[in-house]
Amino acid sequence: MFHNLKLKIIQYRKFTYILSLAIIISGLVNIAVHRGLKMGIDFAGGNMLQVEVKDENIGIKDIREILLSTGYGNNVQKVDDPKRNIFILKTKALPKDNEKVINKIKKALFDKLGAQNVEILSVNVVGPRISKYLLRTSYIIGIVAIGLILLYTTFRFKFRFGVAAIIALVHDVLVVLSFISFFGKEMDTYILAAILTIIGYSLNDTIVVFDRARENLRSTKAYDEYELTFNKSINQSLSRTIITSFTTLLSLFALYFFGGLILRNFAFAIIVGVIAGTYSSIFVASAIVVDWHRIKPEKMKKI
């Protein structure tokens, strides 16, 4: 479908630089306005009950009132499920004895709605010590993973390719974080796993394009052919880039729509990441290498 394409992709890089910066800057501003990303109970600590109410007439307002009556705040969300009436109740974690909090909320729900109408689907308690531990491990995971990948790419490619790939990767992660903030999603361990998957995927995409460029550059002699060579490489690998992203997105959308509540945010983050990763391998990573060459030309091999 895409053979013999001669799209002038690299030539549009000014426009795409601006687009990327616009998304990331507005995302970062949005995060700053909300004083950081919203942290889920995994990282912030807290108690969370997932409750199904069998009576359809009970709405979020009723549940919120019940929670208020226990004195543990009013953080209630309704789960977006057309067939079932499911709510998520959250409270801050006490340093000790969160059992008491859970029991009090359970009792209030049973008392006001009738025990037969309420089913406790899940209970999560994350004490402050554990959330700190999880947060710390997450930083370690992130740093170690990025460090190893950097090592691998510099080992396999020229330094400037490695740097461009890392910039594209940071770009993708920032885009995902921006969208998480735009849509008011919470950071939890699933999102962390999603972000690391995106790091892997983003590089995967970039590397396929770079591989092609490396191959084509071997037969490129002149300085001014550099940009054209990159353009050719992108066009040659465009079919693959688009088809692979498309099949990955197919399985991710299946996960998003049919995989259930718990995986929905996870799928959301990876979907954004795959789209960003596909875009950045072409418009960010390749563009940077071309610009780098313009400013400080790479020595061409003489054949």
């Binding site: 359970k106 899940s122 998957t197 591989d211 692979t244 299946a254």
Partner: protein, 496 residues
Amino acid sequence: MNKLFRIFIVLLVIAIAAWGFSYSYIWYFKYTKKDRDLTNLTAAQLANLPEKERNKIKEMKKLRSRIINLGLDLQGGLYMVLQPDYEELKKRRGGQELSQADVKDAMRRVMEILRNRIDKFGVSEPSITTQGEDRIVIELPGSKDPDRAKNIVMGRGLLEFKLVDEDTTAKLRRDMFDEDGNLIDKSVIPKTSELRYYWEKNKYGILEKKRAIVLYKKTLLDGSYIKRAQVQTDQFGKPEVVFSLSSEGAKKFAEITGSNVGKMLAIVLDGKILSMPVIRERISGGNVRITGNFTMNEAKDLALILRAGAFPVPLEIVEERTVGPTLGEDSIKSGIKAAIIGSILVLGFMLLYYKLSGFIADIAVILNMFILLGILAWLNFTLTLSGIAGMILTVGMAVDANVIIFERIKEELRSGKTIAASIQAGYDKAFRTILDANMTTLIATFVLSQFGSGPIKGFAVTLSIGIVINMFTSIFVTRLLYDIGIDLFKVKKLSI
């Protein structure tokens, strides 16, 4: 490589995977739920069964150690992280700092008692592990009654006998307490006494303070003297816990009862009053019965806790995740649904876009999943919801290698090469790209699987094993299928 030898390798891998997966197949599809539940019986329950049944269960238990288990997010269950609170032990030692050996010893005792209790409670595949220096992770998948399991695990098991301070208790009035049952003015209680409660389960099964009782602080006897504990039914058929004291304990108990006839003796477990009978006479012989308001299960659990002994330090729940069975079932259903729909979409697209070559790629993807399941079974892996997510993502990413190869082959064909030469060149040129591309994902998932906990780990393990198998199926297997197909059908035009 010789074609026959390549066929042999592929068949061998398939056979090993099938062998690994066959146990899981028998377990989940040949046995009924009732059969499977039999493997959760405790040693005591097993002893009552006929020899033939017992052998069958033994076989099943062996089978169970070779299957893919379902994580507790898929079958419901309890996940808890506990941390000992050493402050109390320190206080008991008169504020003295605890030595490394003290801490180690306490931890060892705690683990031993926990194992003891959980083994006798009877759940499938319980896991008790330590995390870091002093955290204990308990996983009880499939436990139908998480609250009961929690009581077994969390009960300190500290049994004490104390006399009731009847004078002070008589002075208590309802209006002296707030709505949570806490005493507003604590000066009512004399220094030598303490306020305790008689607890009862409310209609929802949640323990609640029923009556406030004042006890003398002095512990007359504690649970360390208990030799045996068992459950009996009294003349009205109500369950009661009976325990025998050691000879030293029996002597002490006789003295206590002898000198306090007519007074009320409270039996206190973990600070909660279980029962407070009036002492009618001196009790020698060392047999004590606790009658309270328990169900049979509660009485059994109490006897179990008393037998296993008390934790040397109180444990604190620092993390708890309880998944009800309904949510687990929902998760399996939606996970499988997403996997099927995702696979159909991806496989269907490949077939439409690459025709016969797409079909070859589809075979590779299906084989990939099958081998993945086989390997997970060999590893006795616990499949969680995130693991299913990893598999679904594997399907989407697995076709990547074939897409890269096919696009290359197309290019080579366009440049006028023969079919065989195009295939050869396509695979050769694509190999390095595929290797580089997969390596980065592999690094990310490998790090995740090393440091991550719970959901992250399941995801990372399935995705990384999936990627490695993918290198085999999408390059080695598809190439073989091409070669066989071209030989067999003398292909003139490649369907790609």
